[in-house]
């Protein structure tokens, strides 16, 4: 009898260990999904946390930041040292004001649903494009969007013209290249794990423009880890 009990105990232990490993793997996938989280520096203003989030969007992330997928369209974040990082999981404080600046170096792709040409979920439901306040963008001109579904937040990103004189071919792109500057402000609420994405089918060469970098954490999608 004893060998049978030992066998049963061994099988049970193996199944338990496999379950724990699978759980950890799924947990990892559902949180960071392989993209290292970046903690965005926080400033205090009148006892209220304020964050300046500086991003850039590029048509091709380039071999330096993504050797495996240099041609992927991507978001990048600027860290406290001024370097551009390919991270789309950002740690932000709860109940904070987030001032976002996006430098876009990509051209137009166009929105599949024109509704998202209207900034939503941001202060005043407006964005500032190259210094001018805008309440809507022509949907065919949208290059990307920054959208956080759980906040009801959508901001369309204005494009670099097709005839730009100094386009940036690969990231990281310097501000001396042709670009558009988009600014807006939103507010984080309670602690939580909020996903963000681009709603423009901008993944050139992928099915319906929504494969590849659109479905890979670390390029056109990510999380706001609000803590």
């Amino acid at each position: 009898m004893r060998p049978t009990w030992w066998k049963l105990a061994g099988v049970a232990a193996f199944v338990a260990a496999a379950g724990v490993l699978i759980g950890l793997y799924v947990s990892k996938l559902s949180t960071d999904a392989g993209s290292s989280a970046y903690t965005v520096p926080v400033q205090m203003s009148g006892g209220h946390p304020v964050v300046n989030l500086t991003l850039e969007t590029v048509a091709a992330v380039g071999p330096k930041l993504s050797p495996g997928h240099p041609d992927f369209v991507s978001y990048l974040i600027r860290d406290s040292k001024g370097n551009w990082r390919r991270s789309t999981v950002w740690r932000l404080p709860a109940n904070a004001t987030i001032h976002v600046t996006i430098y876009n170096f990509d051209g137009a792709s166009g929105l599949r649903n024109p509704l998202f040409a209207r900034p939503q979920g941001v202060d005043g439901n407006t964005m500032v494009v190259d210094g001018k306040s805008l309440a809507v963008l022509n949907p065919d001109d949208a290059s990307h969007t920054f959208a956080v579904a759980q906040y009801g937040l959508v901001v369309p990103i204005a494009p670099v013209p097709d005839d730009a004189k100094h386009p940036c071919d690969f990231a990281p792109c310097a501000l001396s290249s042709d670009h558009r500057t988009i600014q807006f402000t939103f507010h984080t609420g309670a602690k939580g794990h909020y996903r963000w994405q681009c709603l423009v089918p901008c993944a050139a060469g992928w099915i319906y423009g929504f494969g590849g970098p659109m479905q890979t954490i670390g390029y056109m999608d990510g999380f706001l880890d609000v803590a």
Partner: protein
Amino acid sequence: MSVASADRTSEPNHAKRVLVVWAVASVIATPLVAIFVGPLFPPGNGTEQSREQGLSNTWMVSVLTPVACLLLVFFVYALTQFRHDGGAIIDGPPLRNENRIQVVWVAASAVIVLFFAGFGTYELLQNGSGGGQGPSPIAVPGGHKLQVQVIGQQWTFTYRYPSYGGLETPQLVVPADTLIELHVTSLDVIHSFWAYELGVKADANPGVDNIAFVKTKGPRSFHIHCAELCGLWHGYMFETGRVVPQAQFASWIAQQQQTFAPVAKYLPAYATTYSPDPQRRAG
């Protein structure tokens, strides 16, 4: 008299015992299940459709309770009465065909299955039971209906109200005590619109107008999920909708029309389906 005949006559009537215990258990358990467990069944009582679905679940479990009782009674009886108490293991009596049992078994199964087929068909023909019926629904409830279009896209739903100038919003708000005619479609891949507490589930296919009906009751919130694996963020494609009093709905519509006025000129004319490929789309 042979030894085998003597053994047979000394055996109690097992079938009679099982049937008596089963009958008593069924008479006690069935009403208990119907009365106390039935109201707990999903999806609740938020709409006429969800109430009917809960009722269907109650009927099914009530009918199946005697079947479950029979299995459990026979299982316990066999375990206790036909238990081998030690000694030499010998062959039991041979199994013989018993036509009466087979006839009762097949007949009872057929009655149960046909009953549910009829019951389900009747329920579906009343108003579609909250399911998508395609572009030409056969179960159309009478009365005034508020049309609401549900548009799936990777990875969110948006909603259009054709009776309010084709207003499109990112939230679903509907008035209480109103018959809603949902037109479900998609702009890209296959999604499925599942408003759990409303008792509505309809696939969202690109190029297809999938119609479902739901009659709201009082104010409440409800969960919306995508129920068709649709890509990376399928698991995050959820939100909360609201059923609000009619006056509140009217003011909400007015507020949404104001909020989305700047983009109204860019929205396509309301249609049951869309061919939305952006002209300059890269992919």
